[in-house]
Subunit: 178 residues, 2 copies
Amino acid sequence: MAKRNFPLSEVYTLLEPGPVVLLTTIRGDKPDVMTMSWLTMMEFTPPQIGCVISNRNYSFKALQETGECVINIPTAELAQAVVGCGNTSGRHIDKFSRFGLTPEAGKRVRAPLIKECFASLECQVVNTDLVAAYCFFVLEVCKAWRDAKLKNEPTLHHRGWGTFVLDGETITLPSKML
Amino acid sequence: MAKRNFPLSEVYTLLEPGPVVLLTTIRGDKPDVMTMSWLTMMEFTPPQIGCVISNRNYSFKALQETGECVINIPTAELAQAVVGCGNTSGRHIDKFSRFGLTPEAGKRVRAPLIKECFASLECQVVNTDLVAAYCFFVLEVCKAWRDAKLKNEPTLHHRGWGTFVLDGETITLPSKML
């Protein structure tokens, strides 16, 4: 996919709807990817994101050691890879080759973008106060990428145990402070 | 709607997909409701939820003072009320009467459930370490309610500026640790 620069001020429009994402990290020369759906926006600009990454995950240590990651947003056609990456550990296998994902170099962090995802957000850890108690990291997006040709491809929302709801109809209501 | 007890261990299935919610609080005898979409699950059981509530919101002070709230999940037919509650302040109007919402008594907290929402989660604040820096509260769900008759009603996911994507097709993939 041909992702281009995406304005940081619009990053929230990608994550606020609540899609499942694929988080990439790199430790030494070994990139890894995990499935994540416990995340929220925390600030518009610069965009900040809070996310829970269990300390049982291989990615936890990579994120803690490097302070960097990439949040990649898959469309529904990557559902099989999303489930696969959520059910395996980078300790045992190379998830990129196993699930047909291609690492691509970013600009600001060493962790790779995933070529097959329509949007990727390069992130740096900015707060770890709740890591010990909740495995909760606050990230700041320093560079965002998006394939502008993919405007309304459905993303995936996880309901538990491999069940996902896909994006359906879009509606717009008049919105302004009354 | 006829909401009944819903198991705490399944609360994540309601919030992990990322729906917009209506947060209710009460201060003195004055209940209020605000629209919220910056929230994430943080623990399965007991269910814990992290959420950002701007200190410019009327609800911020109520949550800080009382340590209690209810997270209510609306279906798409409440879209007008969701936008209305997001664009007005409880300082100036009674949002319940203005937007046709009915407060109902809960069991564990004083903040009201919203009758028209298909699910309601009574919550207590359990961590405020990131409130000063990020307006980020950690809540614990102490009692959950759900209308079991409404199984697949679409919820709303906010994309910004009054645009919402509704739940569409549901898919299930085999999911187990490989």
